[in-house]
């Protein structure tokens, strides 16, 4: 792309079926993952490569028309310039994967993305703030975009096409489960499976679980394992989440390495935190939609990222 200093062509969608998070046995991808594929195809066409967490996601991507589909294990740092990540594509560990990807490849990390398009030498990203409010972000550099569930719905991908892809990849198109599921009591209940405990419940509980704090963290699998630096970053994130440390608002330290950092002065203080060299945007907490509330305006574009 002109002005970028390198060929910004490598666009990836990172998707997964998030099977554990939704309904047992389903092969439906979350809305954000389907939307990410549709958005990528609509905006970047043939340049797109899909990285799939599971075969269901891979088959979906192929059925939707993505020509190059690879397993997530093949995703290498620095091999992608723009990544659109769905909720299923975040994997089972929340948003750690996109955060790491952004950090390691020096990319801007943007959450709640509902649209993106090229505009001469930059990428214009639309962020959904809820209740109709949007931010337009102008990104000049690599970007990891976490797609929102409220992204526009893409063309429907039929089961016939997905099943045809499954059949082509050797997977049984319709997994019959005769007698596979036992009697379940009628009372509504919370599933207690390993994955479910990681993603069920309120954000605070999930955060506690991640750090082994609180009642639900009975499995060590939840704990973060990494370098001292990485653990410190997550600890800071935990502390900032609970308000123990002050959140950085603007003028973030962009680091000496020249890696991209987000600068978003217009966002409210409470919505951002910055830890070390990597800014960590917090998800906008959505207020319940009130029918009488007027839709909020679109703001921006705000410049984020640096010229490389």
């Amino acid at each position: 792309m002109p002005g970028w200093g390198f060929e910004m062509r490598r666009v990836a969608v990172i998707i997964g079926s998030a099977r554990s998070e939704t309904h047992a046995g389903t092969s439906m991808l979350p809305m954000s993952d389907r939307g990410a594929v549709a958005l990528a195809l609509a905006r970047f066409g043939a340049d797109v490569c899909a990285y799939a967490f599971d075969s269901a996601a891979g088959c979906f991507a192929r059925a939707a028309g993505v020509e190059t589909v690879a397993a997530i294990s093949e995703l290498k740092t620095g091999s992608v310039d723009v990544a659109l990540v769905g909720r299923g594509g975040c994997g089972a560990d929340g948003d750690i994967l996109p955060a790491r990807l952004a950090e390691e490849s020096g990319a801007a990390l943007v959450y709640d993305v509902i649209d993106v398009h090229w505009e001469s030498d930059r990428l214009v990203v639309t962020r959904d703030l809820g209740r109709g409010a949007r931010d337009l972000l102008s990104v000049r550099g690599r970007a990891v975009l976490i797609v929102s569930d409220s992204v526009a719905r893409g063309p429907y991908v039929s089961r016939f096409r997905i099943n045809a892809e499954k059949a082509a990849s050797g997977e049984s198109p319709a997994r019959a489960e005769p007698g596979g599921i036992g009697w379940e009591p009628a009372t509504p209940r919370v599933r207690l499976g390993d994955h479910a405990s990681r993603v069920a419940g309120r954000a605070v509980e999930r955060m506690n679980a991640l750090f082994g704090v609180g009642g639900v963290a009975e499995s060590a699998a939840h704990l973060v394992r990494g370098s001292a630096e990485e653990c410190a970053r997550h600890l800071l994130r935990y502390l900032s989440h609970h308000g123990f440390v002050e959140r950085r608002v603007d003028g973030e330290d962009q680091g000496a390495s020249g890696k991209t950092a987000t600068t978003h002065s217009a966002e409210p203080k409470s919505q951002r935190a910055s830890v070390g060299r990597v800014s960590i945007p917090l998800r906008v907490r959505r207020r319940p939609r009130c029918l009488n509330d007027p839709l909020l305006p679109t703001r921006g574009p705000f410049e984020i990222g640096v010229d490389l």
Partner: protein, 663 residues
């Protein structure tokens, strides 16, 4: 008088050149028509082969003979039925009469004299009268009464006017011939003789009569030749294609959708050739009568769907494609809202006089839209909910048994053999109206001491809404998974209160390997009443019964629900449209979710009809109809609204209070 003198000279007054011209033009016209028919057949045969082979030849011949002789499908509209019968019989008689004259004239056979001549002349004249009367009836309807459903197009009127010209010119030339000598035995040619008598009385000279006769003969011959040439053309074509398509027709319950094959090809009619030969033959057979439009609930509610226009659009697409490459976007020819308004009620198929499977084509177009990914969001929601949670209500399948809290129905253990499975269905599991039906059914079954099982959370959507909305792949996945589950329990009989599940399990699952019998709860309850196991429920006040499309029209079951009602009430009143001729509630074909806007709502129309009977209770036998009719109730003026109940709810209530406490 010598019997052999009682005849007439054939082509006596006609110059040889004119006769030769007639024969040549007739041969040319027939040759042209044959060529057009063959070209059209070639265009059709570039399409897909029909999924199922046609029925056995004997069956088909009987069916076509019945169709041509009795014209039963036409008689739903008595006026049109009578008119058409007169035309067909009259036309047939004239064709036979002309053939007799031809044989007498051109072959060594000699039989057209004496009593045979007299009687043949009389019958041919009666045939001519029948033809004219029938045509005038149609023309009156078209041009004077101007009925709304009639397609006001000149190419439709052209056939009637042309046939009228043939019949009248035939009588006129007969009169001119008879008037020259006015022999007494020609009285048997009743019409010709009567007109000839007038000409005679008017003292028209023999020479003039002969000139008139020659001119009329020439004109008559010309119109006949033109008629033959036009036989394959538009409305004229229904004479050939109507019979041909009826000959290919497969008898089936109206609600049963066919499975598209070959399975490897993408489902749906993305192009006109993705339809099958029979679909295209049927499109050619359309008479444009508009009965489908009149019967269609979506059209009645002011939505943009007009089933006739779908059929004619397909015909036009075939004409445009011809035998050239097939690149047309068939669904793109139609208004998307029209395609998604169909409730798959089957009324169009039912009323079509030439047996066109109209809504099947709409489903094919929907299938193509689904494969292209261009569908309304509400349809995508429906599919995604079914794929994700195995039910179209968007609920977690783990909540499938929530309806049963407190009633503790027996859920089958994995692998347990089941003689009677109560199939609850998605509406019965997740929709509050349906849940109440399920609870009633459990109460009835328990009270009767019947051993049964339910599948609990292993039950999944049958795939009916997805299939009707065009998601064939999803339906087939649902079908295979359900069939595997049922096979794991060696299920013998499935009992269900949902006509949609009933239809799918009974008529569509066998294609995927299912082998169990299926009973609707109305049939089960009627059987229990007949066996004396259910009694003492009398005393219910005036009720009216709404026939669910998928039970009544779709599967012909209209007596069992009435037997159940009659065991409770001796004041059943019928709506004007009832039984197999019932009017849809608007929920079928995914309508419960799709909800395409129109000037009115289908459920409101039906609720008004129900309220107009004066009955305060509307009974139905479908968990989709019930909430729809209840919604329709909201549109009724104060004091007019009705109570909507399912058969099972009424039975359960009255079983519980046989003394009439709650009656």
């Amino acid at each position: 008088m010598n019997e052999s003198a009682i005849t007439r000279e054939i082509l006596g007054n006609i110059p040889v050149g004119l006769v030769g011209a007639f024969y040549l033009s007739t041969i040319a016209a027939c040759g042209w028509a044959a060529m057009v028919l063959i070209r059209r057949a070639s265009a059709r045969h570039l399409a897909r082969r029909p999924a199922q082979p046609p029925p056995p030849l004997g069956e088909r011949l009987v069916s076509i003979a019945r169709y041509l002789v009795f014209q039963e499908p036409l008689r739903r509209d008595r006026f049109a039925g009578v008119a058409h019968l007169l035309i067909v019989y009259g036309f047939f008689i004239l064709i036979v009469g002309t053939s007799i004259v031809f044989l007498e004239h051109q072959t060594p056979l000699h039989f057209f004299y004496g009593w045979f001549y007299r009687i043949a002349s009389l019958i041919i004249d009666l045939g001519g009268i029948a033809l004219i009367v029938g045509l005038l009836m149609f023309l009156w309807r078209r041009h004077v009464a101007r009925e709304e459903r009639i397609l006001q197009a000149w190419w439709v009127s052209a056939l009637a006017w042309m046939l009228l010209a043939i019949a009248i010119s035939g009588f006129a030339l007969e009169a001119a011939r008879i008037a020259v000598e006015l022999p007494a035995f020609e009285r048997w040619s009743a019409v010709g003789y009567a007109i000839a008598s007038l000409l005679h009385a008017a003292d028209v000279s023999a020479d003039t009569l002969q000139v008139w006769h020659r001119a009329l003969w020439g004109g008559h011959a010309l119109v006949c030749a033109l008629f033959f040439a036009l036989v394959p053309w538009l409305f004229f074509g229904h004479m050939v294609y109507g019979a041909a398509s009826w000959l290919q027709r497969r008898q089936r319950p109206l609600a049963a959708l066919r499975t598209p094959v070959p399975a490897k090809l993408s489902p749906g009619a993305a192009t006109v050739r993705a339809l099958d030969w029979n679909d295209l033959l049927q499109a050619d057979a359309c008479t444009t009568c508009g009965r489908c439009n009149s019967a269609c609930p979506a059209a009645t509610a002011g939505k943009s769907l007009r089933p006739r226009e779908i059929v004619l659009g397909i015909r036009e697409a075939l004409t445009d494609a011809g035998v050239a490459a097939d690149a047309d976007d068939l669904p793109g020819r139609f208004d998307a809202d029209a395609l998604w308004s169909c409730t798959t009620c089957g009324a169009c198929n039912q009323v079509c006089p030439v047996g066109i499977d109209v809504y099947d084509k709409i489903v094919e177009l929907r299938r193509a839209s689904v494969e292209a990914g261009v569908i309304p969001d509400s349809a995508a929601d429906l599919f995604e909910a079914t794929a994700a949670g195995f039910n179209p209500f968007g609920k977690d399948n783990d909540q499938r048994l929530d309806w049963a809290q407190g009633s503790n129905p027996p859920v089958a253990e994995p692998g347990e053999a089941i003689d009677l499975l109560y199939w609850v269905g998605c509406a019965g599991s997740f929709d509050p109206d349906g849940q109440s039906i399920s609870r009633s059914m459990i109460a009835i079954l328990d009270r009767l001491g019947i051993r049964y099982r339910i599948l609990g959370c292993r039950e999944r959507c049958t795939g009916d809404p997805a299939r009707r909305a065009g998601e064939e792949g999803l339906f087939q996945q649902c079908a295979r998974e359900n069939i595997a589950t049922l096979a794991g329990h060696s299920v013998k009989t499935v009992l269900t209160h949902c006509p949609h599940c009933f239809n799918t399990l009974k008529n569509e699952y066998p294609e995927f390997g299912a082998s169990f019998s299926v009973e609707h709860h109305s049939q089960f309850l009627a059987r229990m009443i007949a066996e004396g196991r259910l009694s003492g429920m009398e005393g219910l006040g005036p009720v009216t019964y709404h026939d669910p499309c998928y039970l009544g029209r779709g599967n012909g079951e209209t007596t069992a629900p009435r037997a159940v009602i009659d065991a409770m009430s001796d004041a059943r009143v019928e709506m004007p449209r009832s039984g197999e001729e019932s009017f849809c509630c608007g929920a079928g074909g995914g309508g419960l979710w799709l909800d395409i806007a129109g000037e009115d709502r289908v459920e409101n129309i039906r609720s008004r009809e129900a309220a107009e009977t004066g009955a305060k209770t509307v009974v139905t036998g479908c968990p989709f109809c019930k909430p729809m009719l209840e919604a329709g109730n909201q549109s009724l003026p104060d004091g007019k609204s009705t109570v909507v109940k399912d058969l099972a709810e009424l039975v359960a209530e009255r079983m519980a209070c046989p003394d009439g406490a709650s009656k």
